[in-house]
Symmetry: C2
Subunit: 519 residues, 2 copies
């Protein structure tokens, strides 16, 4: 399929009738009129700066043009008018704006091809790794402005590199689509997150308008636009909306559940007729933030652990095959599940007595399991202590309780869930088997689990390439009934019951076997 | 009527429900939702910069606010959110952007009161007094940019003065409405008029969008908007549309005619069902640009002339009662009409023989009439020579021919015209009696003439105060069928017949008496 044969996405070829006496409509009005007819719309907006260039552009291209258009909520917006002979790519960038990592993907908007992708640490981490620290920093003098500037500068830098690698000018970058949690998008837009962390937790904006790249400071085409995914609330962000968009949960008759596993657990349950969502704190353990040797997923982090249940032989894997320096969330979940299966941890999440395994030890009454010994690792021994495991137990119990509460609230059980989507970059590295093994995720047929990978990035990509995706995105956002998690007695009882491996009610996890542990 | 009791124009008072747990919509979305309900609209646009200020503004005003809104074509645009206790004026400025003179009027948008008005010479006159010189200058390197900058700077300067006189900040200026001819508005917007003076005479824009003041460089509220009147074509500008809006021609059942008398004659004929318009060159004589002692209307210009027909006693008046330095258009029309009535000019427009009056003389075969003698005037004698009068004869004949052609084209005669609106600042100073006396305007019952004054300014004022005037303005613009004046044999015959005083066909001017002249 040639570029101009593609169904209308971003570029509309137009052959205009040149003006003459008796047909002396102005250049802009002539073009707008042709666009209205071609697009069957009443609303086409032309920026003044583009109008200024129009007379020459139309005449040098002999009235044969390719129009680059963005479809905004209530109107089409003309971004550029190119000569029909100009077939250089029309590009856009999708951005997954994570608290820790940021991914930028350069797209050919016409062919839908990925031209390049790059990831980098969110430079705001210099202020603090978590949302709360950055929110407090934003309240300082120039704090918000500097946080905004740091992320905008970093995005610009990587857009520049991506364009350079593709021998393209930033002038050919017409759109940027960005999905992130609510605080990250607020900081990106220069909106104060101050009231988001104070009861009753109010963002400045739920549904940001499509913005001008120039206004935001993004290096792109002067009339380029920035689409920021809407959020449902302070704790249910645009990254989730992008994830839902990508999963298709909102289009299917069958009821599905989508969960973004992390420090904050964000869950949406529903189908094409209804959706309910909620969010709750699961604690930092799942992202490797609580354990003494815990670390974010990165080179040298142990992300996979296996313990042969018969001989208790231990094997592990590090990210990028680098010498081990710590253990990340997925490694921790694996380790706990494997230790449980091997009888090194009991159903209460307590580490077995030191005499039962040479890797077990006890110092000052605190038991621990050594994963990597001092002589195997230059950074010192990597071990899991009882407090580390306790922290993980709380996190996994919170996660399971949140899932249970949401599903039960609408009168369903886990057996009614057709597909269980695991969203987010962290979700992509979890082994569902281990997550079920420790009772963090429900014990469903493994085929029902669908790992989405970086669903925020994929959703942002889809919004970018589709071009008329905003009504769908808004419909997702507005279709979600947000459930305020009421941390009441019933919730706490559920939570306490979930603080076992895999659960106090073993019938909930029929596929998980429970070994005996010596103390 | 108190401010908040006024029917919605620009300010909407809102009492918002403060957020709480269970109603944690974001600040902007809460406000937008309340606005949509109050205004029964689906489209409310909030600039990002305003969203940034919203959390504090809403909380310090305890959720009781006054919203300043502009009604754009397809949407409401929120310009500001003030505390309900902030009752400082909400202002706007109407601008009549003339080629020669510019008038700026400061308005209280809520009460509709005029707060101040100022007029100044268009600084672009430094490049050249007429449209053509400026259009050529715009083609030079930086020419367009410097022309644009000069008018924007001048408007800003006078906005600043007007606000200062009213003890108001420019931050309280939310809207600017501007009416001018097509070239002037193009230069103001930085749009090249290059193709407007070349066949087939194409403007860049007929209907400009409502623009951001910040984008255009107007010193006003950061989210203030600029409304520029649309044009019908290169020679039928926004000043005419504003004039029609002010006259109400487009709302009445009876057929009226509106004419803007000047170097270019712009005419519109019609009623609430149809409108036809045309424009044609009348020559510079009518604005005092052709006669040797001609000058634009300004201090010291002779603008009224009377010659007692019996004793031929001459009296004249100057603008601002200053010593005479020249004669402006209305003075020239008066002079010609009075000379004709006194038998000093014959029906062919030829000056009588010198012996018939002491003020008449002949040098080198060229006759002239001395209006002010050398000893009465420090600037030298002020006189009307035969070539000056010939030039006026051509202009008045062109004007009459244009009017006749337009009226006849739709199958009407002047007797069918219910009201004859004379628009424009120049039109305001013409004595209709004199204009009829020389056969420039048709010989209708004087009661049918309605002098509109500065109709561009009045139209701009109305657009500003009404706030939802754009549909009406667009309807006027789109309702006009523009008639390309075909300067063919029939037109030239009409023109030749009109080059008499008042006309070759005396039946057309029954109220004008024709004296005998000695040669």
């Amino acid at each position: 399929m040639s570029r101009t044969d593609a169904p209308f996405g971003w570029v509309l070829p137009l052959s205009l009738t040149p003006p003459r006496l008796g047909d002396n409509t102005a250049d802009m009005d002539r073009l707008v009129s042709a666009l209205k007819t071609a697009l069957s719309t009443e609303q086409v907006v032309v920026p003044l700066g583009l109008a200024r260039r129009l007379p020459q552009r139309l005449r040098t291209s002999d009235w044969q043009v390719r129009c680059v258009l963005l479809r905004d909520r209530s109107e089409y917006r003309l971004l550029d008018v190119l000569s029909a002979l100009d077939l250089m790519p029309i590009t856009g960038a999708a951005v997954d704006l994570g608290t820790t990592r940021v991914v930028v993907r350069l797209m050919d908007l016409v062919s839908g091809a990925v031209l390049g992708e790059t990831a980098f640490d969110n430079p705001q981490a210099a202020v603090g790794p978590d949302i709360l620290t950055r929110t407090h920093h934003a309240d300082c003098d120039q704090g918000l402005a500097s946080l905004r500037q740091s992320i905008v500068t970093a995005v610009n830098h990587h857009l520049h590199l991506l364009c350079m690698e593709n021998d393209l000018s930033l002038q050919r970058l017409y759109a940027l689509s960005l999905a992130g949690n609510t605080v990250m998008t607020h900081l990106f837009l220069g909106l104060s997150p101050h009231w988001m962390v104070r009861e009753p937790y109010i963002p400045v904006v739920n549904t940001p308008p499509v913005l001008s790249g120039a206004d935001i400071g993004i290096d792109m085409h002067p009339f380029g636009r920035v689409l920021v995914f809407p959020n449902v609330g302070s704790y249910f962000g645009g990254d989730l909306i992008a994830g839902i968009l990508y999963s298709g949960l909102h289009t299917r008759e069958e009821t599905s559940l989508l969960v973004d596993v992390g420090t904050n657990a964000e869950v949406v349950l529903g189908n094409c007729n209804w959706m309910v969502g909620c969010a709750g704190a699961a604690g930092p353990a799942l992202e490797g933030g609580a354990a003494r040797m815990g670390m974010p997923a990165g080179p040298g982090a142990i992300d996979r652990v296996r313990i042969d249940p018969v001989h208790r032989r231990l094997t592990w894997r590090t990210i990028a095959d680098r010498p081990p320096v710590g253990i990340c969330g997925s490694g921790l979940i694996d380790l706990a599940a494997q230790m449980f299966r091997a009888g090194l941890v009991d159903i209460r999440g307590k580490i077995a007595a030191p005499h039962t395994d040479p890797r077990l030890s006890e110092t000052g009454g605190i038991r621990q399991f050594t994963l990597v010994s001092e002589n195997e690792c230059v950074a010192g021994p990597i071990s899991l202590s009882q407090p580390d495991l306790d922290s993980l137990m709380r996190s996994k119990a919170a996660m399971y309780t949140i899932l249970t509460t949401l599903v039960n609230t609408v009168g369903l059980g886990f057996e009614d869930i057709d597909t269980f989507y695991v969203a987010g970059t962290f979700g992509a590295v979890i082994d569902p088997e281990s997550a079920i093994g420790i009772g963090m995720l429900p014990d469903l047929d493994r085929k029902r689990f669908k790992i989405l990978g970086n669903s925020a990035l994929e959703g942002a990509t889809r919004a970018l390439v589709t071009n008329n995706c905003l009504p769908e995105i808004d419909a997702i956002r507005n279709g979600i009934t947000y459930l305020e998690l009421n941390v009441n007695q019933a919730f706490m009882a559920q939570f306490s019951a979930a603080k076992f491996l895999p659960h106090t009610d073993r019938r909930l996890f029929p596929s998980v076997s429970v070994p005996t542990v010596s103390h």
